[in-house]
Structures are given as C-alpha cells and as structure tokens.
C-alpha cells in the first residue's frame, strides 16, 4: 500500500470515529445477527425467530444486514459464536436460555455492541436487554380447547426441560383444561431436548399408547404433529403453524411472532435510541398469536377459544387466577389473586394441584 492511500485510510478512519462520536445515528446499514439453538427448518422455535429476522430484512431492506447462525449448542462453543458475531455486528439476538452466561461475558467485552437475550434474566451491563413472551397465555387457550375436545379425558404433554417457562405452560394448560372438564388428566413426558424429532415422536407414541387423544408439545420439531396425524389424534402447533404436518390433527397452534419486536429493536439501534429493557409480552401485544382453528372443531368450542383470546388480549382474564393450590395442597394464590412476574411466574418450579405426574428432579 502506498503512503498516500495509507494516509487516506487513516483520514477516513479518523473521520468515521469523529462521526461515530458526534452522532449515534447509523449512516451505514445496521448489522444484526441471530444465534439459533436449532435448525431454521425445525418449523418450531428457531423457525419462528428466523421468520422474525426475515421480517426485519423485509421491512428495512438495505438498511440492515442480517447474519444468522443455526444449531449453536448451549455450551462453551456458543461464546465463540457470539464473540465472532460481536466483532462484526451492531446488535446480536441470542435466542435461547442457555446462551445467557456466554452473552453476559461477551457483552462485557464488547460494550459498543447491543445484545438481546431471549428468555433470560441477567442484564449486568447496560448493553444487554432480555425479552420473552407469555406463551402460557397461548397454553391457556389450547388448554380450553383440549379440555373440550378430548374423549378419553387424557391430555399428553411432551415437555423439553423442567425450566420455569415449560412448567408455566404445563400448569396453565392444565388449569384451563380442568376449568372446562373436571375429569381431565394430564400425562407428561420429558424428552430433555429442545429439538430431537426421534425422541419427540417416541414420546408422542408413548402418550397415545397411554390413552392420550390430544397432544401438546413444548419441543420444537413437527414430529409429534406427524405422529398425531398418523394415529388420528389431535395436537397443537408449537411456535409456528404446523398445519402442513397435521391437516386433520392440528386444532390450532401457538405462534411466536417476534418480527415486530425485532424490527423495533434493530430500528432503535439505527436511530441511536436503543436502551436496555426487559420485555415480557403476550397476546395483548401480538407477540403470542394463534394459527387458524381447524374447521372440524364444533362451533361453540371455536367461539369459546376465540373468546378466551379476546379476553386475554384485553387483559380481562389471567391464566393463573386464584384460588390455586400447589400440587402438595399448599395454597399458592388466594381467591381472585394473580401472580406477579417475579418470583412466582419467572421462577415457577411446582405443579399445580390436580396434576398427578411427579415433578421432575
């Protein structure tokens, strides 16, 4: 490189530094990166986040450059992936709980990069935000449908890991089903994985063999839906519309709609208005949506479900409204009481009364 071009490079970089200090507004495209736990083709959790990323691209066009990395294990490798991304991006979304401590560590080393961690709770530096959705509101709706639609009065639940988010879903679905069908029983199988089509299918088959005629899943693949379709039982889509895999089986599905949130956050980086926040949105803000309801469902059940969705979106009902006891019979919520986010919802580690399965530990 000649001296002249070298000096122009130096000038240019000085200029850009000055620019960066005088205004926070990005003239260049914002570089946003997404770290995924599963493959984008899981048609579940990761698929939904990837749809969000695509939505940002669609809305912002050339103003954003998006990088995605899929199937990043929740181990020390994730810290390297996040670091690699932090070297080249302005904002990074780490979309699974297990990325929490790696995200925190990398954020401390890259103070100029913004980090958004899904479903976590740690924000030690002011360049980290956390966000999550109230999926348990969705579970409330499908719980009601399941309680009405089951003939055997047995709901099968395919659960991933016993973390508060999953426990909330189980409790919410159970309470809603019980409210419309007092004879309901819930069988729960833990597969200890977020994405493992083989294990999820095994779990679905086992639950059906135990008499379940409605399946719910808190795992990310379409395998349970496929099994439900084959065996002629009902199921609910998880994180995205899984109708393709269960034309007859899918009654509705809980859809995670991250797009608007992602757009807002990336735009905030571009505008220089990004600040560290903690978001826990539900049906009311549209972060939790529903797949179209199956036409085969009786009209009154469909209406009841739609009613629940409307009530949730208007804040009229709360899936956890007392009186509710814990599994061991000890009181949790008094008559008419609803739980605070912290600690009740965010650290939930108990089943509610009526669930017979043993709490896993």
């Amino acid at each position: 490189m000649s001296n002249r071009s070298l000096s122009s490079v130096v000038k240019l970089s000085i200029l850009s530094v000055v620019l960066a200090f005088t205004s926070n507004v990005y003239a260049d495209p914002v570089k946003a990166a997404f770290v995924y736990i599963g493959p984008t083709g899981d048609h579940g959790w990761t698929f939904a986040h990837d749809q969000g990323a695509k939505y940002v691209k669609e809305m912002m066009g050339d103003d954003v450059i998006i990088t995605t990395v899929e199937s990043v294990e929740e181990n020390s490798d994730s810290e390297r992936v996040i670091t690699s991304l932090a070297r080249k991006n302005d904002i990074i979304f780490t979309t699974s709980f297990g990325y929490m401590n790696p995200t925190v560590k990398v954020a401390a080393r890259y103070p100029n990069v913004k980090f958004e961690h899904a479903t976590g709770y740690m924000r030690p530096t002011d360049n980290i935000s956390t966000y999550s959705a109230r999926f348990y509101e969705g579970r409330h709706v499908i719980g009601k449908i399941a309680g009405r639609m089951t003939k055997n009065n047995v709901i099968g639940y395919i659960a991933s890991f016993p973390i508060p988010e999953v426990i909330r879903g189980i409790n919410s679905a159970y309470l809603a089903a019980k409210s419309v069908n007092p004879d309901i029983e819930m069988k729960i199988v833990w597969v200890y994985s977020w994405y493992d089509p083989g294990k999820e299918a095994d779990a679905a088959n086992a639950l059906i063999a135990q008499g379940a005629d409605i399946l719910m899943q808190h795992t990310d693949s379409t395998a349970p839906m496929t099994v439900a379709e084959e065996k002629g039982v009902y199921a609910f889509g998880q994180a995205s519309n899984m109708r393709e895999w269960g034309k007859n089986a899918q009654l509705t599905g809980i859809i995670d709609d991250w797009g608007p949130y992602y757009l807002e956050r990336v735009q905030a980086v571009k505008d220089g208005t990004w600040t560290s926040t903690d978001v826990f949105h539900g049906v009311d803000s549209g972060m939790v949506k529903f797949a179209p309801m199956n036409k085969s469902m009786p009209k009154d059940i469909r209406n009841e479900a739609s009613r629940a969705i409307i009530d949730l979106s208007m804040g009229k009902i709360h899936p956890f409204t007392g009186p509710i006891n814990k599994q061991d019979g000890s009181p949790w919520l008094a008559e008419g009481e609803t739980p605070p986010n912290y600690p009740d919802l965010l650290t939930m580690d108990f089943y509610v009364e009526g669930i017979e399965a043993k709490y896993p530990n």
Partner: protein
Amino acid sequence: MIKLIPRVENSTVMVLLSPLLALTLTALSAYLIFVFVLVDIPVSSVFFTLFVEPLIDSYYFSELLVKAAPLMIIGLGLSIGFRAGIWNIGAEGQYVMGGIAGSAVGLYFYNVEALWLLPLMTIAGILGGMFYAGIAAFLRIKYQVNEILVTLMLTYVAVLFLSAMLQGPLRNPSGFNFPESRIFHDSAMLPIIWEGTRLHIGLIVAIILSFVAWFGIKKHMFGMQIKISGSAPRAAKFAGFDDNKTVWYSLLISGGLAGLAGLFEAAGPAGQLTPGLPQFYGFTAIIVAFLARLHPVGVLFSALLIALSYVGGENVQIEYNLPSSITQIFQGMLLFYFLACDILIKYKVVSFKTKN
C-alpha cells in the same frame, strides 16, 4: 470380485505420507462439493475461512487451541486403551462424570477462595472419570461383560445424572430455578495462559501428558504389555502378562483423563456446570485417537486438525450462511480417507474372477 491381501512389506514413505494424502483428498473432495454447492461465493474464500483464517487470526487461533485441549487429553487416554484392545467408547460419560465430580467440589466450597481448591477439584475430576470407567473394568473382569456396551450405555446414564444434579443439589439457588450451577469464582477457575483469550492451562497439561505417555509406552513394561495384549493376546498370555491388569489400567487411565478433560471444560471455558457440558468431545476423541494412529504425541496434531474443522466450519457458517453440517462432512471425509489410505498401505487390492 475384489479381495484385500496383506502386503509383505509396508512402504515407510507411504506410512508417513498417508496423513498428508488423506488431507489432500479431503480438501479436493471438499473443493468439488463447494464448486457444486456454492453459487455466488468464490470457493477460494470459503477455503480461506475454513482452513486458513483460524490459523492466522489470533482470536480464532486461541479458540482453536481451547477446542483442541480436551480432545488431546481424552484422545491420549483412548489411544492407550485402544492399543491394548480395550474399547472404551464411552469417554463422553467419563468426561461428564469427571466434570460433575470436580464441579461438585468447587461448588461445595463456593465461598472459599484458596489455592488448594483447583487442585482438589482436578483430583476429584480425575477420580470421577476413573470411577466411572472402573465400572466397565469391573464388569468385564468379573462377569465378562463387553466394555464397549457398558461404557456406551453409561454415557446416557451420565448425561441424565448431570440433569438430575442440576435440577437438584448443584442448582444455583438464586438462578430462577433454571438447571445451571453457580458461576465458579476465580480460584475455582483454570489459570489463563494467553491474556485476553479463553486459552487455559489445560493445553500445557495436555502437551506434558502426551510426552509422559510417549516415554511411558516406550520405556515402561506396561507399554510393552498393552501393545502385545492388543496385537497378540495369546502371546501376551504366554508371556505371563496379567490380562486383568491391562483391562484395569487401560480403562482407569482413559477414564481418568476423560474426567480431567470434563473438569477442565467446566472450570475453563464454561465457568460453571450446565446441561451443555457434554459436547461430543468423548466421541470426537475416538476420531482423534485413530487419526493419530494411536500415537500419544500424534494425538496433539490430530486434535488440532479436528479443532480446526470445528472453528473453521463455524466461521464458514457465520460468513457465508452455509449449513452447520459442513463440519461433520469434513470430519467424516477426513476419517474415511485416512482409514482408506491406511488400509491400502497395509493391504493390496487384487481382483480375481469367481468360478461361476
């Protein structure tokens, strides 16, 4: 029909060249795949990101060494056992148990800052791995149960045991009930040997151990014993070697080293015990051991090569949005070509007509 016939003499040159040959063939195949798969991206830049960048960028180089260290330590232990014909397939389980045992010590003394803590955790880690591999040794000697099955099955048990521990006694009491331990404090963490990176003392330990093992195998009677037990079991018997001893030593050494690697992972890059501790190092180390032809020092190099495929594969995914399976394809091809080359060095292919 094709038949493999042992060669009378193995060419020394080819024995030395075969790793290079395998590497070249892998690169060529990768090149062909890329030419067909990539549309807008020049193959050369993908190759650069995959094979060169991790070696010249200081951050990626440090991460390559971080990734290689556990593979070196586990691969070293496996190479010793495999020499003796003891097939410890479940190093992953011993790695997890070592990680749990060592971390449990660290978590028990979570509010004690002392110099003795890390050594104590290390010993617990090694013992955890030894104990776990010891089960397989015991069952094989006492009841003639195949160690391949036992070690492999026990891996699943270990992973579930880890889940149970993180749901119960080792869970962070102020961690919102998520299955993770507390974060280790400084005196429970491995010293960093390259400032500003995650590279820890495990690399040095791996290098020292591999040379110790090399000299041990060369000079010590035990080295002779495992070699003969592996290649000529009957001869070993006639020579009066104690078969049981070979089984015990092989499994305890490989288990102990796997346990050490597990603790190093928890007290190193992870910094806490999480469900993400098992990350296939125990299985990948089998490839590492065979790529090194079970040579204790060769393990250092094959571990680096496999680590390169991890770090490079990850970067290719980030830079060019290629699928993450690139890494596995690359590792699979490497092992395939390597074994194929070795077979063709030891055997020659003869074609002959069948009688019908």
